[in-house]
Symmetry: C2
Subunit: 442 residues, 2 copies
């Protein structure tokens, strides 16, 4: 415990670059210590160094990024993301880049418009550097990306490239999406901050749908402060700056359900040690009493995900069924066609009430902690790992932040700890996450 990942330098033969955070860039630019072009060149230098090993990118728009950076060089900083290069998961539209959804079917396809989030980041003077690899239609069939900490291990998915790009200092911020565990799991595997906001806070128009009832925009970053910047950029410039929060008296619930027994020894140990450190900092730490919320959750999640996903991909099913991966065809899509509309609808109604019940459950809790994934990134690139530890929070529409607070002894791979809050309390959760991160890594 207590490992500050930014201090790590050489892991498994691959040097992990420090990588600027957007907040550091903001400071350096506003004090004129750096220019946007210099920031961008650092990112491009890291791409030149690591991309051949990591494979984080579907396409990179170096020329237009350089052009925009040069324009910004001469301007006074304005906008929450002024001069901050960012990556865009390749299931999200950008008008000036290809959008290929992690499949060969749409090679070179150009959408007509930016997704709301891309246009919003650009309107805040962020610099769109390229599209990052996502798994096939943001489901489970992997792309080319490897884990920057050990390229024989998966980076996780479906936001594989976004996590890996931030982890290797190629961009300080990358956009991802989460339908089950597609932000939090790769963030944990790649040792970066991952943020899955409350469902609906961020506009997802222009993002390829997977399961509309759960699809949520997410972000990868190198520091918690950066989450405030993306909220300012996309939600409201008046979102408050991060202020220090004491953990004294904070009510911290450890979620040992629904999948605790699946967590590896290192993950369980991480939580136990984190609990002890947080207690020392004055927090009240106790086991989460879920009051039955988790009982049927995964069943309902599977029905809804299957039903919606099968219909979202109706076009591909109709015209290119043989081009879909087997895991997609025979997994979620096949599951989806076994679900009757009446069961789907019942599951949605049940979940709506469960979310309100969970608001009540969390009334005596400031935040929940649990492992971000079962273990560190599994070996091999053929699977992106399990989302079991993420399913509940995504279904419940809760905000989640994954913090890279530990490193597995044997493999030297990072472990993530999830901090989970009540729906629609993201600004408060971000403050707690910052305090937890400082407390556990200093």
């Amino acid at each position: 415990m207590g490992i500050n990942l930014s201090n790590l330098t050489k892991i498994s033969g691959l040097t992990k670059p420090t990588g600027y955070s957007a907040s550091e860039i903001k400071l350096a630019l506003s004090s004129r210590q750096m220019k946007p072009s210099e920031v961008l060149e650092q990112c491009i230098a890291n791409i030149d160094l690591y991309e051949k090993h990591v494979g984080a990118w579907a396409s990179i728009n170096t020329d237009s990024a350089r052009e925009l950076a040069r324009e910004l060089d001469d301007k006074n900083p304005s906008g929450a993301l002024f001069g901050v290069p960012f990556g865009i998961k390749d299931n999200i539209d950008a008008f000036d880049m290809p959008t290929e959804y992690g499949t060969d079917m749409y090679l070179g396809y150009r959408p007509s418009r930016d997704a709301a989030c891309v246009a919003g980041m650009r309107a805040s003077n962020g610099i769109a550097l390229g599209k990052t690899i996502c798994t096939e239609f943001a489901h489970r069939h992997p792309g080319k990306t490897a884990n920057p900490w050990n390229i024989e291990h998966t980076p996780g998915g479906s936001s594989s490239g976004s996590a890996a790009a931030v982890a290797s200092g190629m961009v300080p911020i990358a956009i991802g999406t989460q339908t089950t565990g597609s932000v939090i799991r790769p963030a944990a595997y790649c040792g970066v901050i991952g943020y899955k906001p409350s469902y609906g806070d961020f506009n997802i128009s222009g993002v390829l749908a997977n399961t509309p009832s759960f699809d949520t925009l997410g972000f990868f970053a190198n520091c918690v402060d950066d989450l405030v910047l993306v909220r300012k950029a996309l939600l409201d410039e008046s979102i408050p700056e991060l202020k220090k929060l004491s953990l004294k008296g904070a009510r911290v619930a450890i979620a040992t359900k629904p999948f605790w027994e699946e967590a590896c020894t290192s993950s369980q140990q991480m939580i136990e040690e984190a609990a002890s450190v947080l207690k020392d900092a004055g927090a009240k730490v106790f086991a989460l009493d879920d009051q039955g919320v988790f009982e049927n959750l995964s069943e309902w999640n599977i029905e809804i995900s299957g039903y919606e996903f099968a219909r979202t991909l109706a076009h591909e099913r109709r015209l290119a069924f043989h081009k879909l991966s087997e895991i997609l065809r025979n997994g979620r899509m096949a599951d989806g066609f076994r679900v009757a509309f009446s069961s789907y609808q019942a599951a949605k109604k049940n979940l709506e009430l469960l979310r309100i019940k969970f608001d009540e459950v969390l009334k005596g809790v400031d935040f929940v902690i649990c492992p971000s994934a079962q273990s560190a990134a599994p070996k091999g690139l053929e699977s992106t790992g399990s989302a079991d530890f993420n399913m509940a929070w995504t279904s419940l529409h809760c905000p989640v932040i994954s913090l890279p607070v530990a490193q597995e002894k044997d493999t030297a791979l990072p472990l993530g700890l999830q901090v989970v809050g009540t729906r629609y309390s993201d600004d408060r959760l971000i403050k707690f996450a910052e305090a937890v991160f400082k407390c556990l890594t200093n």
Copy 2:
């Protein structure tokens, strides 16, 4: 009252064709009285006759529709929409047609994939005939479409072309979308059946977002049975067929709030006469006690619509602000930027609880009736009329069916009556709507 619109023939110099319903087509095809090609040629004949007056279409794909129809000619009928030509509102993607969103900005733009609903209708062997005119980005700035009953009057919007195409027998079914009143109002103005399902029943991936919290797919048809066919096609083949339902003992609530006093005399009279006819049929008719649900509803609706719409169109705002219509720029978009994120979030939370409260309110009610719009279609094409009578039900996520049950004496224009049900009870509402329609028009 009691006017069966299909008996009307000559209105204001424009002959209103009878137009097949999908259910009639199904019967004719399964009994081999007609072939799919013959059905299609009837639609094309009506387009040839009326399109120059009505302007319902953004693009028509006659050649590929004919080719598909010829293929179906030799096949045994299968699929809920076998051989049924349909129109697609031009804010919905189709891979083999342009998608222009009702604006010059995207002339000729070709999406890569079908929207989920288009692919689903095609998978049920429906024949996509073309894209129908929608207002600019499905907001208020009108397209070229005129009302088939009197071309000096608006067809309503934003699904202007879909309503007009069905009303003039160019297609038996057309897809639309509703964010406030964009299906129900044009259905009423154009004298056809309009169906705005429960929010979330139908997958809207591949549909241009307007206000994701309210955006709902909708349908226009010539008979209530056809709504069952589209539900079979897109939700589940096992959706039950329509069975006769008696209105004896049915609990019918008349909504005189929130906007009753805005309804024109004819609309008020229509509801009063409908109440009397339904009573004669054995229904219990009473005033809806909304228990305060309508109190802050429109305020919250405006905050959410504005906030989300402004962000959905972030790309156009950034790169083509001057090309947006004034009503869009200075209306909903400007409204949206005045809404703080905290107010937006509060409005969403309030509405979530209000929907659950409204479920309770409707426990003693089988369905609600009220006018579909303030009046018949207003004169002039520069405005698409008011959605005030639709805002509440859309915000509450309730299913709504507009029935063309009356005709204004002075103008000879149709009037629509809305039948509203509890969220997620669409199949039941469709049965009641059929009974109400028969009762009021026979």
